[in-house]
């Protein structure tokens, strides 16, 4: 049983890294507002959280950030810190809220929004540009849409996976 779970979790980790890499090939959205992403890797985090609980989701999330840092941006680069704080904010709020009345989609939306909020706080602190706060409402609206989308996809995938587990 333990091995089965371990294997599945590592498969999910690999999938989340795959999605992150695929996403980095399409920087179209950051042309609209710098730093914008769909956040499709969050689908995996949400799936793991609802299938295995918050601890495992936290683990997968942090490992994904670390591995992506090693593969792409380089550990301890600015992009890595943005990614890390964003993910910590996102997984933190999702872990707090996933046992409330909110469905998978609601949890995904709030996670996506807090990802943006976390990155915005880091950007303001590191780049020292307090006026960035004026972009926050737009980021939040955009995150609402992407969170809805990824939440819906996560919900569909969970139904599909649960029938086969």
């Amino acid at each position: 049983m333990e091995y089965k779970k371990q294997t599945r979790l590592s498969m999910f980790l690999a999938l989340s890294i795959l999605l992150s890499i695929i996403e980095s090939f399409f920087p179209i959205l950051s042309g609209i507002l710098p730093g914008m992403k769909l956040g499709i890797a969050n689908i995996i985090i949400v799936i793991v959280m609802f299938l295995y609980g918050r601890k495992d989701a936290f683990l997968i999330s942090i490992l994904r950030v670390l591995l992506m840092g090693m593969l792409r941006s380089g550990v301890f680069s600015i992009a890595f810190f943005f990614s890390l704080t964003g993910s910590l904010f996102s997984i933190g709020i999702m872990a707090l809220l996933y046992k409330t009345k909110l469905s998978i989609i609601g949890v995904s939306i709030i996670g996506s929004i807090f990802h943006s909020v976390g990155q915005m706080i880091t950007a303001i602190l590191i780049l020292k540009i307090p006026n960035l706060i004026y972009y926050l409402p737009f980021m939040v609206l955009f995150s609402l849409i992407t969170g809805l989308l990824t939440g819906y996809l996560a919900k569909q995938s969970i139904q599909y996976i649960q029938r086969r587990l």
């Binding site: 409330t100 009345k101 909110l102 469905s103 989609i105 609601g106 939306i109 709030i110 929004i113 020292k128 540009i129 307090p130 006026n131 004026y134 926050l136 409402p137 939040v140 609206l141 609402l144 809805l148």
Partner: protein, 121 residues
Amino acid sequence: MNKSDLKLIASILGITIVFLAIFSMIQKQEAKTAVIYYQNEVMQRIDLTQNEQREYIVEGENGPVVIEVNKGKIRVKQEESPLHICSKQGYISKNTEMIVCLPNKIVIQIEAKDIIDAVVR
């Protein structure tokens, strides 16, 4: 999607609309000043209420950055950077709008003196 999801979405939309309304009120403030920063230090303050066309040259990280002011609007006309993001951005004119040129470590920000200072401090 259940009821509390819809409540969540509604409250998020409500809060963002309130913030957007506040921010757009700040943007409508007159007496605009454009402030040019180099490495977070103020290099120059430009009054945007005067109408004539002017050009300013600021030393950036990769060389001179040419900034043009015209009819209350400001833009980066010419600069040395890999992607030329800030010169492609074009004119900005509203309060709180900004041009960020990371390679040159130059930030141009439009400020309405009173309110922005109050917010920042």
